[in-house]
Symmetry: C2
Subunit: 163 residues, 2 copies
DNA sequence: CCTGATCATGTTGATATCAACCTATCTTGT
DNA sequence: ACAAGATAGGTTGATATCAACATGATCAGG
């Protein structure tokens, strides 16, 4: 109903003001740069740190599970693991029960690096929280969006017949 | 004060729950995929669409200004312009007043593509808004964060002496 | 057992992303 | 006019990112 008038084509300012995607990219890039810098002493990018964290649970996730956790493509995870494996921080085991499944896990060295980097992460995150001033609602909103847009952890349900 | 106890190293779940950077990446990736798909009929990625939009003002921005607008590195803009220039959608002019400055601008073809893609963008964005249900505060929060983390448009001030 | 469908992952090719370095241009002080 | 510093941009090398396709493993019927 409300879209009976496509009116004019989207203007530059409309996109700049409205586009969630644009703002999400802006935020993502700004934060990535920030944490990249904080983690540089440990030779990890923010993305690598997130990936290592995703592997750090008691039971190593499969590649697909890790991808889901990070809301990235499976093939991106495969690619991202390579530099880490080359450095001996992760090891990609095959699942004994299912030959298709791979379970990348942290090595001892990987655990050590992650532990040190984790301390730097916390310092950087505390600084960020401080800099954002009073507990803004922004972080919570970001997490909500994150969950809404790409729920994780639940058994995937295929596109059902429901419209 | 509150950091007298570094206590344990950050756990996986602490990072997963707290890390703004991780959630920002998740949101950015999910939205990028979404708009990539919406714009695919026009052979534009969400990033290319944003870049074209940034160039679409009356006075074409410099490379640095465009980078600032998108919160990306200058060299990323340079790289991102290449595929677009190759396809004849943008043209990189030199500023007549300052030989260092380049001003990438849309060609006629670029304008046409952007107009068509803009219509698709609006449809996709309307659908997204609808899907996010009631006017959540998330979008506003995202925009706030975006501005806080990487203000744009204002004359850059170098790191002041304030501690 | 086969055979086809399904599933997990890997590979390829294109683009995106950034830091570090490099070059060309402008500006300022002399 | 010249040299020194600042500024704008590009180049290089590494990694990240995804879609599309390809491979190999498992599973369900027969």
């Amino acid at each position: 109903m409300s879209k009976a008038l496509p009116s004019a084509l989207p203007s530059a300012s409309e996109v700049r003001d409205r586009c969630l995607c644009l703002h999400a990219q802006r935020v993502a890039r700004a934060l990535a740069r920030r944490f990249d810098e904080a983690l540089r002493p440990h030779d990890l990018t923010s993305g690598q740190f997130s990936l290592l964290t995703a592997l750090s649970g008691p039971q190593p996730p499969t590649v697909s599970e890790a991808a889901d956790l990070l809301a990235m493509d499976r093939s991106t995870v495969t690619a991202a693991l390579k530099p880490l494996a080359r450095r001996g921080l992760v090891l990609v085991d095959s699942d004994p029960a299912d030959g298709r499944v791979k379970r990348p896990r942290l090595t001892e060295a990987g655990c050590a690096v992650l532990a040190r980097a984790g301390a730097a992460w916390r310092i950087a995150h505390d600084a960020l929280d401080r800099e954002l001033g009073a507990p803004t609602e922004a972080p919570a909103a970001l997490r909500t969006l994150s969950t809404r847009l790409h729920p994780h952890g639940q058994p995937r349900m295929k596109a059902s017949s429901a419209s």
